[in-house]
């Protein structure tokens, strides 16, 4: 009796898990299917074609917007990773005045709605005459990414044995040499996952980009937002499908490598 009950529970949880994944993947499946649709207004499926994939490579504004997304993502990730890693390291090692304030400030971009950070950055860029465009986007994205890098590196530093650093310095290595050759390699997994998180947040960002971009510098999400009003063309779905497949490939490769190491 008990066994049967447990088995029933197992089946129920399998059904529930499947239901949740269908919910999560259904719109993506629709996008993939409609990227092969002959009809332009993607309302009903009329026939199979690869045309949209060919057309995609002639859609200069769309490709350019994706290029901007990658550029802003890469630049803001580099900034956030450097500033965030140094901050996490310094704040966990040293005590100083105002540390509590910095700690609290780090949580502000995490808990306030993106729209508030977006309009606040728009207002300050406007006040300080920073030109609105790729530069303002990069600064804005680095701002919301820095805390996430700090938190991820903090988690890694929490299990870090400080005596290794002392040993290195006792053996005559300078402070910076110790940081780059001893500490950094040890905390590297935390730094990488922080950078990964920063990049993910940047590439998908809509709201903050919406307020901090300038005329002529569209990112991919902003381009989509503009297109949604008039109707998204299937070449956008084609691009999304390609990106989705690349993502899956990256996931499979990295998971595979992880297994090899472990």
């Amino acid at each position: 009796m008990r066994k049967r009950k447990a088995k029933l529970g197992g089946t129920l949880s399998k059904i529930y898990t499947a239901f949740m994944y269908v919910f999560l993947y259904l719109p993506i499946a629709v996008i993939v299917v409609y990227s092969f649709n002959t009809s332009k207004m993607n309302i009903s499926f009329e026939g199979f074609t690869f045309d949209w994939y060919a057309k995609l490579f002639h859609n200069q504004p769309l490709l350019e917007s994706y290029g901007n997304t990658l550029l802003v993502g890469a630049a803001s990730t580099i900034i956030a990773t450097i500033v965030g890693t140094l901050a996490s390291y310094g704040m966990s090692k040293y005590k100083f005045k105002g540390k509590g304030i910095i700690d609290a400030l780090l949580y502000v971009p995490v808990v306030i709605p993106e729209i508030v950070l977006g309009i606040a950055l728009l207002a300050i860029f406007n006040l300080s005459n920073i030109p609105m465009g790729l530069l303002s986007l990069i600064i804005a994205h680095a701002t919301f990414s820095i805390p996430f890098v700090v938190f991820t590196v903090n988690a890694r530093l929490a299990g870090f044995d400080r005596s290794v650093e002392e040993a290195s310095m006792d053996l005559g290595a300078s402070r910076s040499k110790t940081f780059f050759t001893v500490t950094l390699p040890i905390i590297m997994p935390g730094v990488i996952s922080g950078a990964f998180l920063a990049f993910t947040l940047s590439v998908d960002d809509i709201i903050i980009s919406f307020f901090t971009t300038g005329p002529g510098s569209n990112t991919f999400p902003l381009k989509v937002m503009e297109l949604i009003k008039t109707g998204v063309t299937p070449d956008v779905y084609a691009l999304t499908t390609i990106v989705f497949i690349i993502t899956i490939a990256i996931v499979i490769v990295t998971q595979h490598d992880k297994k090899k190491i472990a």
């Binding site: 310094g90 306030i112 950055l121 996430f148 919406f210 989509v224």
Partner: protein
Amino acid sequence: MRKSYKIRNKTIPLLATVSPVVIWLTLLVAAPLIYVFFLSFLSTDGYNVVFRFSFDNYINLLNPTYLEIYTNSFIIAFFTTVICIVLGYPFAYIMAKANKKNKAVMLIMLMVPFWTNSLIRLNGWKTILGKTGVLNSILIDSGIINQPLEILYTRGAVLLGMVYTLIPYMILPLFASIDKLDDGLLEASNDLGANKTKTFLHVTLPLTFSGVFSGSIMIFIPSLGFFFVSDIMGGGKSQLIGNLIETQFKAANNWPLGASLSMLLILLILILVTIYKKSGGDMKDLGVM
């Protein structure tokens, strides 16, 4: 002598590591928000911000049309949070109880959709739910209904879009709190004669309450501001506080009013976070993603 040497020795590495973040957060988080605070007391001449101090914007916040929008926004945010808990808890529970390999697979499969742009995925829902969309076509073709169902551009559609976009922010903290739960406690409760339901209600649920709370904060707050979800799924019919702020900063060009609306949101967050901390919540749990 030795002491002063030590202090000097510490100052340079401290400055080298901490000053970039201090400068960045001061100039790009603290200063902008303080500026928005000031802005909320200024006025506009219809195009530019005018430096005339008044409480007018705050009085304007009580406009009946706005009150209706706050109510709608709160209803959506509340139900988004509740639905995310109800749907997310069993999923997080199943994930936490899975074996190590399945756990990793389930977690990665949860994250993969979120690497596809959320606007595109919402547009996918639009294709499914629209008047001539996938769902209606299937239902009409199979003879279940004659007239297409009006699902898109309703409050329900906005709710669906919100839950869809935000649910991982609930599942992840819930998973973290269920995963670190000591199995010994559950066994003890079982040994003491409590059945599964009783154990869940009196042991598991209270011990994972912090996950529920931090997940709720991570969902309730953003859903007040996600204007694009209501634009796409609600067709602009279901206005949120986020739409109101967006309008002030873009179309209406009334930045001071938009700033006062933002201050309203900030006040709400301060209250929620204070309650969260008072009830023993850890700020660290709000940063997990």
